[in-house]
Subunit: 345 residues, 2 copies
C-alpha cells in the first residue's frame, strides 16, 4: 500500500513551501507508508505558458491517481485577463471539496489574546459560483453576480462543523451570516445549519454542542476584541475567506495558518497565505503553513501519529523562537526552518 | 433660517444615544442657527407596533421637511419575519444616500497601533439590493441573491473617495475588491474607481493621490497587522460594512465610531454600532459615536465650527479618561459622558 500525494505548488512562494512540506512528509518515515509524489501544474504561470490555469491533466491525475494533494498558492493577474480563472476555486469545485477547514491557534507562550478556533468555510458556492454578467443600462455598465446558497451544501458543511465542534472540549459552534440583510440566502444557511442536530440518524449526538450566531461584521469585530469567545465558526464561502484571514492576523502571521479542502473522497492541504510576490524567490517564505497543512491532511486521512509529530515539531520551533522567517520577525530562511523542524521530528 | 434635523432613534441603545447627540447639538448655541428637531419612527419596535419597519411618513417628512437626520440603531428579529426588512438599508436607498463615510481614528495617547483612516463605503447596491429568490431543486432548497455593481454607483463613490483622499495629508486611496474571484462585478468597481482621475472636468485635480488596491481578505488581515498603511479605503457595500467594523475594533470600541450616509441632497448621521440588546435600557451606552456622527453631519453641511467644537470636546473627554462608559473600561453612564462633553464645549 502507498499514499499517493499530488503536489501543485502553483505560483510564487508556493514553489518554495510545497517542497518543504514534501520533505517533512518524507521525514516521517514509516509513519506514512510509502508516500508517492506526483508533480502537477496549475496557476498563473501555467496559464501564461499554456492558456489554461488548471490543465485537465492535473484534474484527471488527481482524480484517478492520487489519494490527496498539497496546493501552494496562486498569483492573480493585476487586470482582468480573458480566459483566466482561479485554479484553486476551480479545483475545489471539480473535486467537490466542500469544506475548507482552517484552524487558527496561538502557540507562542503567553501570547495575548489567546486564540484557539477553527473556521469551517463552505467551499463550493456563495459568490464563488462565479456566475457573473455585464450589461449596459441607461446609466452605463451594470454587472451582476449570483450568490448561491443551497440547502444541500449548507447541510453538509453544517454536519462537518457540528462534528468538529463536538470533538472539541468547549463544543461551541458559531454560525456566521448576514441574515439581517440577506434574509433568504443567509436565512437558508442559518436555518439549515441549525437543523443539523434534528437530522435523521443524528440521535442526540450533538446535544452537548452550544450553538450561537454572529453577523459577519460583528464577528470580525469580536474576533479582534475577544477571540477567546470563539471555538468553531461555520460560514458561507466569502465570509469564511475573510474571517480566516482576520483570525490569522491574531496569531502572528498568515505564514502559520494551514487549511484543508475536504470532500467525501479527497482532501487537499493548502496554506492560507497567498503567493507573496514581494518575497518570491528569496527563499525566506515561511514553510510552517504548508507543513501544518500536510499535517492536517494526514490527520484527515487517519495518519494521526505522523500528523501529531509534524505539529509537535512545528510548535516547538515556534516556541523556541530561534529559527523563524522574517514574517515572524526572525532572520532564517525557508530551508533553515524546515531543517529545524526535521531535527525535532 | 433654521436647520431641520430628523431624529430616528429606532431600537435599543439608539433611544439612549440619539437624545445625547441632540443635546450636544443644542449646546452649540449660535454656531447652529435655530436647530429644529423632528422625532420620527422606524425599526423593529415600529414594525411590531405598526407592521412596517420604515413608515412612509418618516420618509416623507425626511424628504420634505428636513435638511439632515440622525439615525440610531436597529434590532433585527432573530428569525426571518415575513414583511420585515431593515429600515436603515431602505432609508439609504430611498434618500439615495450613496456614500457611507466612516472615519476611524485613534485618540488615546500612545495608542498602538495608530489608526487614522476613512472607510468610504458604497451604500446603495452590492448584495444590499436584496434581490433574493428561493426555489426547490433536485437536492432541496436553493436560494440566490443578486450582487449588483454599476458603473454609475462605482463612479460616484469613487469621486467621493478621491475628493476625501485628496484633502488629507497622505493622499492614499486603497480600492478594496475581490476581483480574483469576482472579475466582472468587482472588476467593474475597480476599473471605474481607477478611471475617476480621467473623467472630464477632473483636470489633474487628483494627480497627488496615490492609488493602491487590496483584496478584501488581505485588507482585513493588513488592517489588523499594520493599520497605519491605510488612509482612505473605498469599498463596495458589504466589504465596507465588514472593514469598518474591523477598523473599529482597533481603536477601543465600536461605541466611538461615527458615520454619515451622504447623498447629493441629504445627509444622515449614524453611529456604526448596533442596538446592543445586552445593555439596552441600562443607561450605559457610549454616546460618543452618536455625538461624533452629529459632528460629521454638521461638517458635511458646512457647519465647521460647531463640528470642530464637538470633536474637540469628545477627544478631550477620551484623552482625560476619567468619564468613560463600560465599553471603554470606564464606569460612567451615557449622561455622565454627555455632561463631560457639554462642560468642555
Ligand atoms: C486565491 C483566492 C481565490 C482564495 C479564495 O478566496 O478562496 C484565497 O483567498 C483563499 O482563501 O484560499
Ligand atoms: C444593520 C445593518 C443592516 C447595517 C449594515 O449592514 O449596513 C449595519 O451593520 C451598518 O453597518 O450600518
Amino acid at each position: 500500500q502507498s499514499l499517493r500525494i499530488g503536489l501543485i505548488p502553483a505560483d510564487g512562494i508556493g514553489k518554495e513551501v510545497i517542497p518543504a512540506a514534501k520533505a517533512a512528509i518524507l521525514a516521517l518515515g514509516s509513519d506514512i507508508p510509502n508516500p508517492q509524489f506526483v508533480d502537477l501544474a496549475a496557476g498563473w504561470e501555467t496559464f501564461t505558458r499554456t492558456g489554461v490555469a488548471l490543465p485537465q491533466e492535473t484534474v484527471d491525475i488527481l482524480r484517478q491517481e492520487c489519494d490527496c494533494a498539497l496546493f501552494g498558492s496562486v498569483s492573480s493577474p493585476s487586470r482582468k485577463v480573458v480566459g483566466y480563472s482561479s485554479p484553486i476555486v476551480a479545483l475545489r469545485k471539480e473535486l467537490d471539496l466542500y469544506a475548507n477547514i482552517r484552524p487558527v491557534v496561538s502557540v507562542l507562550v503567553g501570547e495575548k489574546p489567546s486564540v484557539d478556533l477553527i473556521v469551517v468555510r463552505e467551499n463550493t458556492e456563495c459568490l464563488y459560483v462565479k456566475q457573473e454578467v455585464q450589461t449596459v443600462g441607461e446609466h452605463g455598465k451594470e454587472a451582476r453576480a449570483t450568490r448561491l446558497i443551497t440547502e444541500r451544501a449548507s447541510r453538509r458543511i453544517g454536519q462537518m462543523a457540528f462534528e468538529l465542534a463536538n470533538a472539541r472540549p468547549r463544543k461551541l459552534l458559531t454560525i456566521i451570516h448576514k441574515s439581517n440583510v440577506l434574509s433568504v440566502t443567509d436565512g437558508l444557511f442559518r436555518e439549515t445549519v441549525r437543523s443539523v442536530p434534528t437530522l435523521p440518524g443524528v440521535n442526540g449526538k450533538y446535544d452537548q454542542v452550544t450553538i450561537s450566531e454572529q453577523l459577519v461584521d460583528s464577528a470580525v469585530y469580536r474576533l479582534f476584541r475577544e477571540p477567546e469567545i470563539f471555538d468553531v465558526l461555520v460560514a458561507p464561502n466569502l465570509y469564511g475567506d475573510i474571517l480566516s484571514d482576520a483570525a490569522a492576523a491574531l496569531v502572528g502571521s498568515l505564514g502559520l495558518i494551514p487549511s484543508i479542502n475536504a470532500g467525501d473522497n479527497f482532501v487537499m492541504g493548502e496554506p492560507v497565505h497567498g503567493s507573496a510576490p514581494d518575497i518570491e524567490g528569496k527563499g525566506i517564505a515561511n514553510p510552517i503553513a504548508s507543513i501544518r497543512s500536510a499535517a492536517l491532511m494526514l490527520r484527515h486521512l487517519g495518519y494521526t501519529k505522523g500528523a501529531d509529530r509534524l505539529d509537535t515539531a512545528v510548535d516547538q520551533v515556534i516556541r523556541e523562537g530561534k529559527v523563524l522567517t522574517p514574517d515572524l520577525k526572525g532572520t532564517s530562511t525557508t530551508n533553515e526552518v524546515l531543517e529545524a523542524v526535521l531535527r525535532i521530528l
